[in-house]
Amino acid sequence: MKNIFLKSITLIVFISLVAVFVAYKSGYLGQKGTSIFLSPNGSTITKTNTDSDSLSINYSIPEGRLLMPSSKVLILSEHKEIIDTTKIKLDTTNSERTKAIMGSSKLGRIFEPELKKDITEMKE
C-alpha cells in the first residue's frame, strides 16, 4: 500500500512538473511573449532599435525567462509584434520600402495598408 502511494505521488509530481515546464516555456506563466533565445527569425527588438540597425539586434537572452537553455530545449524565438503576419495584409506594391525595413524575409515589420490610410485620415 505504502509502495503504491509512493509510486502514485512520484508520478503525479513528475507529470505536474513537466506540465508546468511546458507551460512556462510556452509563455503561459506570466511571461510576455514566448521567447527564450532570440533569433533573426523575428527577433525581439529593443526599444532603441530602428530599421537601420536591425542587423545589430541584441541577441542576448532575456533575463527572467530562462530555464534550461540547453541543447535539448533551446528555442530560437520570434517576436509576436514583428512577424504575426496573419493579422496583416502584405503591401507587395511597395517593394522599396519593404526592402529598407526587412533585414531578412521575416525580420521586419510589414505595415498594414489600412493603418497607413488611418494615419492619413488623422492628419487631415
Partner: protein, 274 residues
Amino acid sequence: MNFLNLIEVTGASLLFLVLVFVPMEKVFPAKKEQRFFRKDWVLDFCFFIGQYVLWSGLVLWVLIFFSHYLTNIVSVDFQVLVKSQPFTLQALEVLILSDLIIYWGHRLQHMVNFLWRFHKVHHSAERLDWLAAHREHPIDSIYTIGLINLPVFVMGFPLETIAGVIAFRGIWAIYIHSNVRFPIGPLRMLIGAPELHHWHHDLNRDAGNYANISPIMDLIFGTYVCPDIEPEKFGIKEDFPKNYIGQLIEPMLPKGVWRKVEGSMKNFGNTKIP
C-alpha cells in the same frame, strides 16, 4: 545576460531537473544498482555545465547566422498561409513535421561518418540517466537544435505553436535517457519511452529507435526495437577519450593528428582531466 545570471539559470535548471527526474529514477529504476553519483558523473556534469555556460551562446550565434538563409527558402506568402491555419492544426503539423525531420536527421547522424564523429560523444556514455542526456558535442548541438527549430525557420510556424512542442520534446528527450523503467504497455507504440531509447544506446551503432517524442516514425521506417529487457551495456565499440577535453577535441581532428595530440597529453600527464 551577465555571468552571474548565467550561473543562476544553470543552478535553477539543475535543481529543477533533479526534482523532476531523481524521484522517478529512485522509484522506477531501470538499473537498480546505479547510484546518483555513478561512474562518469563528473564527466557528464562537465558537459552539463559546458552546455549551459559555454556553448549555448556559440550554438545560438551559429544558428542565427544560418537562419537568415533558411527563412528565405519558402515564400512569405506560404508562411502567411501556414500562420493563418487554426492553432490545433498548426500544432499537429509541427509535431508530425518535426518528428519526421528529427527522425531522419538523427538516423543520418548514425549513418554518415562525418556526423557520427560528433554524435558518438553522446553515445559514449556507458551509464544513462538524466545527466548523461547532456553529454553532447557543441557541433552536434548545433545540428540538433537546427533540426528542432527548422519548422520555424523554413515554414514560418509561429513560436506560440512550436514553443510548447519544443519544450515538451526537450524535456522528453531528457526523460528517455533517464534511468527509469516505467512500462506503459501498448502506449509505447505512440509515446517514446526510456525502455525504447535505452536500446538506441546499445553498443551497436545501428540499434534503431531514432525517434524522440513518438516512435511512429520508427514503426513506419522499420527501425522500431523493443525487447522486454534492458540492454546489457551502453556505449560505443570504438576507442574514445574518457575525459571532457579529449571528447571535445577528438571529433574535430583527423585520426593521425589526434593520436599525436593524445600522445603528447599522456607525456605531460594530463590524462586525469575529468
